[in-house]
């Protein structure tokens, strides 16, 4: 499933199956008959110019938008009509560009926000006593597993760099056994070194068997980590290939619309 020259079909049943999805906003066709699969441990890059439909597509998968036609199937379960909370409960986490972190809280509090480890169970959730040490311990384990190094685990997220914050957001996304993580421009605001660290993190998600959809503008980053790239243009899937240095020109051509044929 890694850097093969051909677009090998994902082995095993796909985690995510998007089938003929279309979405219109009034007269504007934002998505037009999009179909693709993502396998466990596969990194699918989503490429396209601004307004190509990338954002609409990830919001449709994550339950923010509901498609007008087609189906979104997650590990055999139809989640087409599910709302964002339900989709998350099914193990799809989306890390948007705003990261949605609690800047005033430490990483552990961020990971467990809204699902604090607390008891006893017969009390209303708000009145339960937090198990702070256990949450901190689990946070440390998770960050270790993902090889994310933070200078101070007890520091509030506001004091961390862009890359560290991105890492915390991504780690939070996979903290609770998620099957698919959608990353929206994870390296857009980062410098070279920090970008490299985030890409390492994507590789480790893959090793962990988590499927990743990576929205990115950087072809370098896509070539570095993605198993496949799907190019959108004006709401349509115009090309799909294994991104390599060799077909760099082809990808650019698809993105800017020089050719309009779907490969493979």
């Amino acid at each position: 499933m890694t850097g093969d020259a051909t677009t090998a079909p994902p082995s095993g049943p796909p985690v995510l199956s998007v089938r003929g999805v279309s979405k219109r906003f009034g007269a504007v066709v934002a998505l037009d008959d999009i179909t693709f699969d993502v396998a466990p441990g596969e990194v699918l890059a989503l490429l396209g110019d601004n307004g190509a439909g990338k954002s609409t597509l990830i919001k449709t998968i994550s339950g923010v938008h509901r498609p007008d036609e087609g189906a979104v199937v997650l590990a055999g379960v139809d989640i087409t009509a599910a709302n964002a909370m339900t989709v998350r409960a099914h193990g799809v986490e989306t890390v948007y560009q705003d990261l949605a972190l609690f800047d005033n809280l430490d990483p552990a509090a961020n990971f467990f926000a809204g699902r604090e480890d607390a008891g006893p169970g017969w009390l209303p959730r708000a009145l339960r006593v937090m198990r702070r040490r256990r949450m901190a311990e689990r946070t440390r384990e998770l960050l270790e597993r993902l090889q994310v190094t933070l200078p101070d685990l007890a520091a509030q997220v506001a004091l961390m760099s862009g890359g560290q914050r991105q890492a915390v957001a991504v780690a939070r996304a996979v903290a609770f056994s998620s099957r698919l993580v959608i990353l929206d421009e994870p390296t857009a605001a980062l410098g070279l070194r920090e970008s490299a660290r985030v890409l390492d993190l994507v590789r480790r998600l893959k090793e962990d068997g988590v499927a990743v959809i990576l929205v990115s503008h950087s072809l370098d980053h896509v070539m570095a980590v993605a198993d496949r790239a799907l190019v959108l243009r004006r709401g349509r899937a115009v090309g799909e290939t294994v991104p390599t240095a060799g077909n760099h020109e082809q990808l650019v051509a698809w993105i800017v619309g020089a050719t309009d044929t779907r490969a493979g």
């Binding site: 890694t2 850097g3 110019d49 601004n50 964002a84 909370m85 560009q97 705003d98 990261l99 949605a100 972190l101 609690f102 800047d103 005033n104 809280l105 509090a109 926000a113 809204g114 699902r115 604090e116 607390a118 959730r125 708000a126 009145l127 339960r128 006593v129 937090m130 190094t149 200078p151 506001a158 004091l159 961390m160 760099s161 862009g162 890359g163 560290q164 914050r165 421009e185 857009a188 605001a189 410098g191 070194r193 920090e194 503008h217 950087s218 072809l219 370098d220 980053h221 070539m223 570095a224 980590v225 993605a226 991104p243 390599t244 240095a245 060799g246 760099h248 650019v252 993105i255």
Partner: protein
């Protein structure tokens, strides 16, 4: 995999905006400073974080030098007694401010609760009923604030609590026929005016006010509730990022209503202290107290942008105000200067906080270049 490092980032267009969650406008990641700047920044930040306490210590030292009486146990007891009401109100206000809110009604709420409590005592002679009524009225006023804000979809808590400031004050005057209701239960007298002789140093009468003990108990409870319970975590989460709180399944509307309820309950507690201090329920006893409470919270470094503020710092802020007043009184300075001095301290405290914000932004950009 194949990256040959040749391609430049494509489409450097609009999507390349900096992270919008970063309000402070992170400066560029210039590789300046390094480890040396890092250590200096850490030290400066640590110093700024104790800013409110530093202001208090400075005030105490200066006033202690200027006045022989200031540091006497009897006077310190007075300061504690005078600050007790502000302290309790500030703790309630703190919870509200942490969620990006404000409660302008706590002063009027205090007056109304005190009047009702005194009336119930006059008509029933029951300590339990009077105390319960005082606390209940405070809580109910808070509940109405919260409901108006959240369920009534008013755009900002300023509006419902401003309306309540007016309404509760009017109701207090109406119920009391604009007159002070004399007499409160002896228990309440003890809370507001008593001194604990068991604390050494004050002779037979004692110097340590019971009201200060009430403050300690309330502060301990608020600390416990905010640090130990899930509810406390949610308050800070809602204040830090309300949208993310919704996305993470935190019941934001209930959390918001609850902080106004608790703030109202604490206004009721402050009403008991005020009743005890004056042995009466006065319809104007809480007038302008909301401003002291808000000032205390701000001097204590809580941010109106939400998510930040601590119990200890809010109490420190309240003490700063009380010490300032007491000290200027002792020095025989025109009382009007007290208000101007309070204003100056507010500005100074917030300027320190702004500086802290700048340093934190610098710290963040250093992290990007200096961590391995």
């Amino acid at each position: 995999m194949a990256g040959d490092g040749r391609g430049t980032p494509l489409l450097a267009g609009g999507a390349r905006t900096p992270d919008p969650a970063d309000r402070s406008g992170r400066p560029g990641r210039r590789p300046d400073g390094g480890a040396r700047g890092h250590a200096a920044l850490t030290t400066a930040l640590a110093a700024l974080r104790i800013g409110p306490a530093a202001i208090l210590v400075l005030l105490v030292v200066v006033l202690g030098l200027l006045s022989d009486v200031f540091l006497s146990l009897e006077n310190l007891g007075n300061v504690l007694k005078q600050s007790a009401v502000i302290c309790v109100l500030a703790l309630g206000q703190l919870l509200v401010v942490v969620t990006r809110g404000i409660d302008l009604s706590v002063g009027s709420n205090l007056s109304l609760s005190a009047v009702v409590g005194a009336l119930v005592w006059r008509d029933s002679g029951s300590t339990t009923l009077a105390v319960a009524a005082t606390l209940l009225v405070g809580t109910l006023v808070g509940l109405v604030n919260g409901l108006l804000y959240v369920k009534g979809r008013l755009p900002h808590p300023f509006i419902p609590t401003l309306a309540m400031l007016s309404a509760a004050s009017g109701l207090a005057l109406y119920l009391s026929h604009s007159e002070t209701v004399q007499g409160v239960p002896p228990f309440v007298d003890e809370l507001g005016a008593g001194r604990i002789a068991a604390v050494p140093g004050g002779g037979e009468v004692g110097w340590f006010p019971t009201a200060a003990l009430v403050v300690l108990v309330v502060a301990l409870l608020v600390t416990l509730v905010t640090r130990v319970l899930v509810w406390g975590r949610w308050i800070y989460a809602v204040g830090g990022n309300p949208e993310a709180a919704v996305r993470n399944g935190i019941p934001v509307p209930s959390v918001l209503i609850s902080v106004y309820v608790v703030c109202g309950l604490l206004a009721g507690v402050a009403a008991l202290l005020t009743m005890g201090k004056g042995d009466a329920g006065s319809p104007t006893s809480g007038a302008l107290a909301e401003l002291d409470a808000i000032a205390a919270v701000i001097i204590g470094g809580a941010s109106f942008l939400g998510g930040r503020g601590s119990v200890v710092n809010a109490l420190t802020g309240a003490l700063v105000i009380a010490v300032l007043r007491n000290g200027l009184n002792l020095l025989g300075i025109d009382p009007n200067w007290q208000y101007m001095a309070t204003g100056a301290v507010i500005v100074a405290a917030v300027e320190l906080d702004v500086l802290r914000g700048h340093l934190e932004a610098r710290f963040r950009s250093l992290q990007a270049v200096s961590t391995p």
